[in-house]
Symmetry: C2
Subunit: 473 residues, 2 copies
């Protein structure tokens, strides 16, 4: 490919992306293709001869594109968002063009130093305590694994790394904690049986008294409590575990306190939401994902720790072929996490924060929260709906409830949910809260405006009409 061909193709793809971002709302949010339909259209053998980009791009449009789920769709109300944005896309293009592998300072000083700076920008934006230092990981799954490993090492005087997991260590999280906690507990060698699920209150927040009881019971039995994972903004309902009392308990018992704020951490950009961080000075590590609700292309997970030395001591390794003359005075981020190789992820964060400014990001988050609140008010005004959890952020949990028994309600809501998604115009996912089939509507797409939430409400109301008859307020 000559430079001129590259340029021409590059312009075409820039045009394509621009048009895609403008028109993404015109597509069905989810593909209607069935499993195997895309695979069938792809050759089973690799091409021996070179093919033209014209052919490849045509196949992209004909074969691949119809099988995409459109995460940037204004009707995306599913899971949590994974925003991209124009400046972030431009930064990803530069990152790909530079093709730098940023494992250590030497292999790209600018990447290492920019990462240090933008992580501290994020710390300030969220009003995390001074002294917390940040590093970019790929996902919150990884960040929480890094926290559990550091906690494991601290609890065993860094001997688990040497001798293996010989001591009986325990981990604590609420019943509503993300599935990655269980997965990470397994990976780190604790074993699932060492994970204590602490019951939650009526708002799905961890009950600190029950946490302390569980800790004391384990200690009585000769077990060592190693880590508590608190969640700000649980996946199912957006619940907020109270950091202040949890932090006091962890300090009292000398337990590593990790906070999973993957989605809701971004809300701490807003002074009016900063109450979620009350007690954060007692926290040992904290993760939130700019790739979720902060306009930065996946993947980009911001992980903060108070005790940088413990983190590094957990992961550092110094083979001869990675030694450089400046190792003592720089951040070699390979020692701050699991992978050796690292992408230049700081660049897109820098582009995003500067393009929007803190105020611009705040305005977007505030708008999403207000839209979710509005949607919630519409539900509240219609007696066919039941709201199932508080709406601290931009997630609303609800279901139809006409008084039939719980099993029948679950079946009704499953059908209701299917009908809503069959519209193709919006996409909601579900969860289970106290055994109740629960629909989740998350406002978080960069492209979602009030009219889209109104349209969602229209679709949801019509689906309710079809199943239950017209609404009464």
């Amino acid at each position: 490919m000559t430079p001129d061909e590259f340029k021409k193709l590059g312009y075409q793809l820039v045009d394509w992306v621009s048009e895609y971002l403008t028109k993404v709302g015109d597509y069905p949010v989810c593909s209607s293709l069935q499993p195997g339909e895309i695979k069938e259209k792809l050759p089973a053998q690799p091409p021996i001869k070179a093919e033209s980009m014209a052919d490849i791009f045509q196949d992209f449009e004909k074969v691949i594109f119809p099988g995409m789920t459109h995460w940037q769709h204004p009707g995306w109300f599913a899971y949590f968002p994974a925003n991209n944005s124009p400046p972030s896309i431009l930064a990803e293009l530069l990152t790909a063009g530079l093709g730098a592998q940023c494992m250590i300072w030497k292999t790209s000083p600018a990447a290492a130093e920019l990462e240090e700076v933008v992580c501290d920008w994020l710390r300030q934006m969220l009003a995390l305590p001074k002294g917390f230092v940040g590093v970019i990981q790929d996902t919150a799954s990884t960040s929480t694994l890094v926290a559990l490993l550091t906690a494991r090492e601290k609890a065993t005087a860094f001997q688990s790394n040497i001798r293996g997991m010989k001591e009986p260590l325990c981990v604590y999280a609420s019943q509503e904690a993300h599935s990655s906690v269980e997965k990470d507990v397994k990976i780190a060698g604790y074993g699932k049986e060492s994970l204590r699920y602490i019951p939650t209150d009526e708002n799905y927040a961890l009950i600190p008294e029950l946490l302390e009881q569980a800790i004391e019971q384990d200690k009585k039995q000769g077990l060592t409590p190693a880590c508590v994972v608190a969640t700000l903004g649980t996946t199912s309902s957006g619940a907020v575990d109270p950091l202040e009392p949890i932090g006091k308990i962890c300090q009292r018992h000398k337990i590593w306190l990790h906070v999973d704020a993957a989605y809701a951490g971004t809300a701490a950009l807003l002074p009016e939401k900063r109450w979620i961080l009350e007690g954060v000075e007692k926290v040992d590590s904290f993760v939130f994902n700019p790739h979720k609700w902060m306009l930065t292309n996946f993947d980009c997970s911001a992980y903060f720790v108070k005790d940088k030395e413990a983190l590094i001591k957990t992961f550092e390794i110094h083979p001869e072929y990675l030694k450089t003359g400046v190792d003592a005075v720089v951040n070699n981020y390979r020692d701050w996490g699991i992978q050796l190789g690292r992408r230049f992820r700081a660049l897109k964060l820098w582009f995003v924060i500067r393009t929007y400014g803190v105020e611009g990001i705040q305005a977007l988050i505030r708008k999403h929260i207000a839209l979710a609140q509005k949607f919630r008010e519409w539900l509240e005004a219609d007696s066919r709906f039941e709201i199932l959890a508080p709406t601290h952020f931009s997630l609303v949990c609800f279901r139809l409830n006409d008084g039939r028994n719980e099993a029948a309600l679950n079946e009704l809501n499953r059908i209701f949910h299917d009908r809503i998604n069959q519209s193709g115009q919006i996409f909601l996912t579900h969860t289970s809260l106290k055994g109740k089939y629960t629909l989740r509507l998350v406002v978080g797409s960069r492209t979602t405006e009030e009219k889209h939430v109104q349209q969602a409400w229209e679709i949801i109301r019509q689906a309710a009409d079809a199943l239950l008859g017209g609404g009464k307020s």
Copy 2:
């Protein structure tokens, strides 16, 4: 940013990338900035107000760019390569524009099915056995961790995930295995003391007889051998552990055999290099990185397993909020590794393989290997140089040797190495082989032609002249 502004900026960045790839050889390979110099030029506080892309891009050019290490430089002979390529960059642009998070089939059917197809293309390209199935991980560090975790679970009837690491398990790798093996052994809870480093022969390849002795000794002591990690193309010298005898030993003792072919796996694209895979049918898992030597932007690590069910059983987790109606009939790759969230990495592989064709990639690899061979011959013809390892692929290990004692030789070669890199035109890294300070020259950059290897030889010879006087052949 309006669509028109995005387009205009996009064109500018496409032009910039095109020019960068054309002129990358004009820059010093490594930045000459000192630690802290970039940080000093960046504001310590995040911007409150939005800034223009013109300002941001100007800062990119003035502040960030001078601090980049140029991995795509034709004078890049360091570490291993991390190739990008025009089609891969274009695919990354599309991936960023689509902004899809591909954790499960439902969240992008095309990404899941394309991943299945291109992984099988890779399997065929490397002539890996039928029945091996592939998945894209981020790095070989992660792939090897995934292998060690699956091996751990198989060795304990999947009880370590439940009860923790209670059994005394052992892992085996050669003394020359990559540092990620030790790091991963720690992360997975085995403990470093469970890792047996098996001595290597005069070519730095694992000695199978010593492997079996170590296994038998451990078994006698009541320990359970869980995993052997063999390396094809070690980092220090490119050594090749013999899979056939190692595989037989692993089968005899029922031990998971993982192969780390991160760099050299790509060489198996060439029929004349396929001898490295002799015995691969006895292997349980295999990793190589298309992001190293196969023109695909970092990150992209291809991980293959024979027993897919064991892999999934190790990692699967099924919270209500991730369940979909098609889970039984699709590949949900979140269950094939550590992270829940996943980028659409298959797209760039598909673009690369089709743009170059298998023959195009083979031609590039063959060229690199021939250039390394040529460089080796130049060294061999100059009596001041000593070659320290076989050159199976495109890595040449060498040093100056004028007969002084080993400590003095190490000091001499350290100075020699510094002088070479100070040219700014080429970048070599070092390792230690049997205690000897060893310079490594790896030919692997997409932009490296014969003239660049000649230039490297010129620089190296002049540095030798300056230290030892003119060469004698």
